[in-house]
Structures are given as C-alpha cells and as structure tokens.
Amino acid sequence: MQLTVIPERCSGCKICELACSIGRENVNNPKKSRMRVMVLYPHPVIRMPIVCRQCGVPKCGEGCPTHAIYRENGIVRLDEEKCISCNQCITSCPFGAMFLHDDIDLPLKCDLCDGKPFCVEACPKEALKFHPKHILGQAHRLSTARNYAKMSKVEYLDGGQKKIIRYAREKVKKDED
C-alpha cells in the first residue's frame, strides 16, 4: 500500500496534521505530526502535504550511524532502541518527510498507522490517498487511453438521447504492414 498525495486537491487546512498528532501522540498539536502541509503563494501557487513515501531505498537510513532505520514489509521504521537522536535522517530525507519537536527525543517518522493512516481518513478534500500499489498510475493510464486523439466515433440514439461511442481502429491499411 502506498500513501500518495494529490496536491491539486489540497486546501491547506491541516486537518491531516491534527488527525496525525492526535492519533499518534495523543495531543492536539499539528507540530507533532509525522507529515506537514506546505502552503506556497503567490508564486508558485501550491498546497501540498509532505508525507513519507516508505522508499524502497530509504535515503533517511543511509547516513544513520547506528542503522536504526530499517525497512520491513514495505514500511520504513525507526528502531527506537538504536536511535541516538543525531537527527541525520531528518536532513537526509530528500522530501523533508521526517520531523523533530523539542518535546520529543526521537525523530517523528510515519509508519502508516498499522495500515489505516489517520491523515487519509481525516482529509476532507480526498487529497491524500492510501492505495494498493497496483492502483498507482492507473488514473493516468486510463486518461491516456481515453484521450487518445485518433479515435473514430459513431453517434447513435438511445431512448431519444444522442450518444457517442468512440473506438480505435485503423482507417487505412498502411503499406508497411
């Protein structure tokens, strides 16, 4: 399963941060969430939740001197026993998706909430998605096929309503075939 972001839908409301901090730290404090909504304006205009992607090659772990970061069943985890709070992982993550807070000794690391991320559940804009990996890219594949420019079409009547069927088929057989 993959946590993905659709920034085009995000309103910047930070309800995800609240849900994360309450669900994971049991406090109403968005600064203790394991994600962060970035709101940029007036140029460029974007609102984007930064979340951990549970990378196959976790860059956060590469510089870890105690090998406290490990990957297990597709989730990148922090071994709290091994962690020495040197914060190398925070700056190593290319997405900035690990976080620190003065009240908490260890880095804050997303582990997808036992498979039911609080942030996804709380998002009112469906800007956060938690999908099986085979779904990733599906929307784009579908729209690429649907928008294929060279399709032919046939108009027909369905109960008096005009409808269209579009289909892809070669019109002229080419010589090289």
């Binding site: 085009e8 839908r9 309103s11 910047g12 409301c13 930070k14 309800i15 609240l18 849900a19 309450i22 049991n26 406090v27 109403n28 404090n29 968005p30 600064k31 203790k32 709101v39 304006y41 007036p42 140029h43 205009v45 609102r47 807070h101 003065d102 009240d103 709380a122 009112p124 804009k125």
Partner: protein
C-alpha cells in the same frame, strides 16, 4: 480549579516603546466571564480606557492592540481557526474589533498565549517576532513602502525561518489609512475598522509567530468524537460540495435575486451584469484551487488566476462576496478579472475592500451628482465601471497621494471636508456599510445601526431571514432577532471559531456548548455562554458611551430612510424613520439599556 483546558492562562504584554515584554497570568474567573477572543480584548481595552486620564488617540502610542484567539482556536473541531484583533478604531474613534481566519491565530495559541497586547510605539519600523517564549523586536526600516507579501518574504529572510506565520500591513497601514487592514496567510485579513493603521502607528510592519506547544484540551477523546461527527455532518450537507466550489461567492447571485446587492454606491440593489461576476463565472474561468482556514473542511477560499487580457497574471485568494460586491457592482463594474485585480491590490496595499469600495463609490456618485467637482479632487474624473481609474484611486488612497490623503481618512474625515456627501456616504459611526442593502429589511438596518463597531454585517446578518421568512413578523420579533444574532455571532468570536458552519450549513448553537465543555472541561448551559456574550455587548457599549456615543449614533445610513429602492424585488422599499425610532426603543428596552442607549454596565 474548574477549568481543565482551553487556556494557557498567559497574556503576553509587549511594551514597544521600552522594547520590553512580560507575561502576566489571569485567573479562572476572568476566563469564565470573558471566554477569549473578542471578550478578552474588550475587557483589556476597557480596563485600559478606564485607567487612562486623557482621551486616547487611536493612532497614538497610548492605544493598545489586543490580538486574541479563543479557547477553541486550533483544536480539531470544525472551522476553529479564528482570531480577534481588538483596539480603539481610528475610523470610528470607538471600540473596534475584526476577526481573521487562516493559521495565524492557531500559531499564536501554540506559542502559549491566550492573548497578546501591544502598547506604545517602536522607535522605528520593526517586526515583532514571537517564537514560543522568545520575543524580539527586530528593526526593519527597509520594509517601509513594502506591500504585505513583500514584508512577509522579508521577515522570512531576516528570521531564516520559512515556516513562521506572519501578519503584516501594507503601505496603507504605514500611512494611517483608517480603513487599512492586517493581512496574513496570503489573503486572510482582519479587514475592518483600521487595525492596519493601528499597527502602523505602533511602527510594527509585521508580527511573525512560531509556536510548538500542545493545545490544552480537557477531554481530547470526546473532542475527537464530536469533531468527527461534525465533519461528517458537514460533508453530508446538501450544499457542502457547492460550498467547497464557490464558498461565499455563491452569495452574489443570492443577493442579486433578493434585491440586496449593493449597486452604484447602494443606490440600486440589483445589478444587470451580476452574472459576469458571480460564483459560476469565477468557477468556470478563473478558479485554480481551493483554500481553507486551519482545520476547516469547507474550504470557502477560492484561489483565482487571470489567464488572459490586460490583468493576466493577477493571482489571489479571493474574492469573497463582500469584496466582489463592493469593488464590483457597487462601483458599476462587472469584469471579474478587474475585480480580482482590485482585490489583490487591496490585499497588497493593506486596504479593507468593503470600505474602499464604499468610499470610491461615494466619490463617483458625488462627481455624478456634481456635489464634488473634479477640481475638488485634484482634477480626478471617475465614472461607474472605470476600471483603470478605480485602481489608480485605490493606489492613491493607500499612498495618501493627492485626494487619496483625504479619502484615507474614511467617512468621518471625508464628511468634514465635504458635508454635502452626507446623504451619499453609507456609514454608521464612521464605519462604511457592508455589502447588504438594508432598505427591504428593518432588522438589518437595526443591526447596522446598533453594531458596536459601526455598519458591519457580522454582528447581525438578519437580512436573508427577514426577507425570506420574516415579512409577517412584528417589530418586537425583529428586535429580538437582531439581539439573538448579536449574541450568537460575537460568541463565536469569543470562542475562536468561524460562524459559517452555523449560518450556512446548519450547525446548531448547542454544538458550541458541547465543544466548549470538551475543551475547557466546564459544563455550562448555552444560555450562560450567551449571557457572557451579551455582557461583552454591554461592555463594548459602555466603552462607546464613555467615548461619546449615544442614541443619535444608532441610526443606519440616511439613504436607508431617504432613497426608496428604484427597481428589482425590493423596489420602493425604504425604512420608515418613525418605525425605526420605535424598534430602536424596543431594542434598548430589551437589552436593558436606557432610552439614550446607556447600558447598565460600568467600565
């Protein structure tokens, strides 16, 4: 201790003249009585006025500016991102407040304060930074003349922190324009009554905040349960999706249909080109994204970009209804791209869109009726819908160039200079009227007349209900309805929540009693919270009475009585002066004020 959450019991007091700050506590009784936000602000301001021997100049160092979120601000509850700015208004000379959404108030709470009080005046133009317990006044003379967004960028650069939440003023605030605003999070403004000028008079260009603290909540578990139910209820509402799409811009069509859309300086109430500037036009041609205040699923903010034509490249979060109406139909302009440009310009210069639209409208009508001549205005000519002329006048106001210097003084100064405009400038107590015509609904006229800050709609927005359901009501019922609004709405400003889930998507008031209970741990009946709110209304009235306000000031703009609506569904409507005198008398009696409007409360 009864209270188990909702407060840090800390007020940050910054003396800008001395460059010192201190934190003072308050007790439980204070929190129970005044709740927070506007309540805290009113009490602190009242105490300040009471102790002051001489009359306070709103733009002098003796004025105080209180910034106060509420006990619910920043919690997981729906739409709890509000924050009040309270001060003596330079526009009206009396009590003033304006609330701001966005994230700024939440950050202030997370820094561990229930209120911040600014006093005195910094020696030079500066930024105030609040990072939890670290308070700094950073001289920032290079920020002079910067617009709000430039000032924000500069503060990020100087502090080296991209993540600070910043409230800033534009040129208009620096120049003391009495309807200048404070801007944060791109387009969230404490818009009304001239808070920007008060900040400018204190030499504070920007306030930057970073907070890290847990917000105290008495019963987090029950808060989360109620919040989830609340969010689900909003989502299930039939208008939720539409609200996300259009937000307050949907009101343009509504106001035009009902005959309350300000058109050509409130002369007319229907605009024949309203469809060019409504929510659908925005959605189809300009909207590029949604934006929301902290913790709000309704995302009524619309991010709009002009993609073609002479305003190409104009991008802003907005407009919302008031801005579109006051800068659009009220100025006879319907080009939505121009409205976006004017809205963005006001945000950047730091001007309140409502007062700006009102004053520019009065100038155009004054010229049209030859009460003003181009010579009075330094050669200025201006007509309805003259986009370039309007934009250039807005700049002049903010920069106090030429006639802009007088216009920046707001309704009171303009009337001093040109008394002939008395029937034209729509204001109460010196504050220009919001974008709802009141001639068809006497309750709205009473709401404007008795609002404690002047002609603003947030205290009592009764016009829709009266026009839709209240035509059969007697005056007593209408007066009651105004008081009911003036009680509930300010309560939201005290709690630090937005009123839109209530007024637009049907949240009952009782929810807020439960929310307050979950956050503070104090189980009080709603009626008791309403009493607290009413007490603040008495208190702000007592402040105003002390500053010279009496019955004579509680009347809506004279146009409401004198000029019948010329066309549309409210055609012929006008408020009868005798009837208004009667409803005002009833209103005083119901509030327990004497017949000159004096409340039974001492400062």
């Amino acid at each position: 201790m009864k209270i188990k959450g909702g407060y840090f019991f800390r007020i940050l007091d910054v003396d800008l003249t001395r460059g010192e700050s201190s934190v003072r506590p308050f007790d439980e009784a204070f929190a129970l009585q005044y709740i927070g936000g506007r309540g805290f602000g009113a009490r602190i301001l009242a105490d300040h006025i009471r102790k002051s021997r001489k009359r306070i100049d709103p733009l002098g160092p003796d004025n105080v500016l209180v910034i106060a979120p509420g006990p619910l601000t920043g919690t997981y509850l729906p739409a709890a991102g509000k924050n009040s700015f309270v001060t003596l208004s330079p526009a009206t000379g009396i009590y003033g407040d304006s609330s701001m959404g966005g994230v700024f108030g939440v950050e202030l709470r997370q820094a561990g304060y229930d209120a911040v009080v600014l006093r005195g005046r910094a020696h030079e133009l500066s930024a105030l930074t609040i990072e939890d317990d670290r308070i700094k006044i950073i001289p920032l003379p290079e920020a002079r003349g910067m617009n709000t967004l430039e000032a924000e960028s500069l503060v990020r650069e100087v502090t080296g922190d991209e993540d600070m939440k910043i409230a800033s003023i534009g040129v208009a605030g620096e120049n003391g324009a009495v309807f200048s605003c404070v801007n944060a999070d791109w387009s969230r403004n404490a818009g009304r009554i001239g808070i920007g000028a008060v900040m400018g008079s204190k030499n504070i260009k920007a306030i930057a905040v970073r907070g890290s603290k847990d917000l105290p909540v008495a019963d987090l578990k029950s808060l989360v349960k109620m919040a989830r139910e609340g969010y689900d209820e909003l989502k299930a509402h039939e208008f939720f999706r539409f609200w996300q799409q259009q937000g307050l811009m949907s009101v343009v069509d509504y106001a035009n249909t009902m005959g309350i859309l300000p058109t050509r300086n409130f002369q007319e109430t229907v605009f024949d080109r309203a469809d060019k500037m409504n929510g659908y036009t925005m959605e189809e041609r300009y909207k590029i994204g949604d934006s929301a205040c902290f913790g709000c699923s309704m995302s009524c903010g619309n991010i709009c970009l002009v993609k073609e034509g002479k305003y190409r490249g104009t991008v802003t979060e907005g407009p919302e209804y008031e801005s579109a109406a006051m800068l659009g139909s009220n100025l006879g302009a319907s080009n939505f791209a121009y409205i976006l440009k004017a809205n963005a310009l006001c945000d950047e210069l730091g001007l309140d869109t409502i007062s700006t639209g009102s004053i520019v409208g009065a100038v155009i009508e004054g010229l049209e009726k030859q009460i003003l001549s181009p010579d009075d205005l330094g050669g200025l000519t201006l007509e309805w819908g003259d986009e370039e002329g309007i934009l250039s006048l807005i700049e002049k106001i903010a920069r106090r160039q030429g006639v802009g210097g007088i216009l920046a003084g707001g309704a009171r100064e303009i009337l001093n200079r040109w008394p002939g405009l008395a029937g034209i400038i729509c204001h109460v107590k010196g504050l220009e009227q919001s974008a709802y015509d009141a001639r068809g609904a006497i309750s709205m006229a009473l709401g404007y007349g008795t609002s404690d800050i002047g002609a603003h709609h947030t205290r009592a927005w009764t016009v829709a209900t009266e026009l839709e359901n209240g035509m059969e009501w007697g005056l007593e019922e209408k007066a009651d309805f105004v008081i009911y609004h003036q009680t509930v709405r300010p309560l939201f400003d005290m709690l630090g929540v937005c009123r839109l889930p209530w007024i637009e998507l049907g949240f009952p008031e009782e929810y807020y009693q439960r929310y307050y209970h979950a956050v503070t741990g104090v189980d009080r009946p709603l009626s008791e919270l309403m009493e607290c709110s009413n007490h603040i209304y008495d208190l702000t009235r007592a402040i105003n009475v002390r500053l010279g306000i009496s019955r004579k000031d509680d009347f809506p703009p004279s146009r409401t009585f004198d000029d019948p609506v010329p066309s549309g569904p409210t055609r012929g409507s006008v408020v009868d002066r005798d009837e208004y005198e009667r409803i005002l008398e009833m209103y005083y009696r119901k509030r327990g004020w004497d017949s000159d409007g004096r409340p039974p409360v001492e400062l």
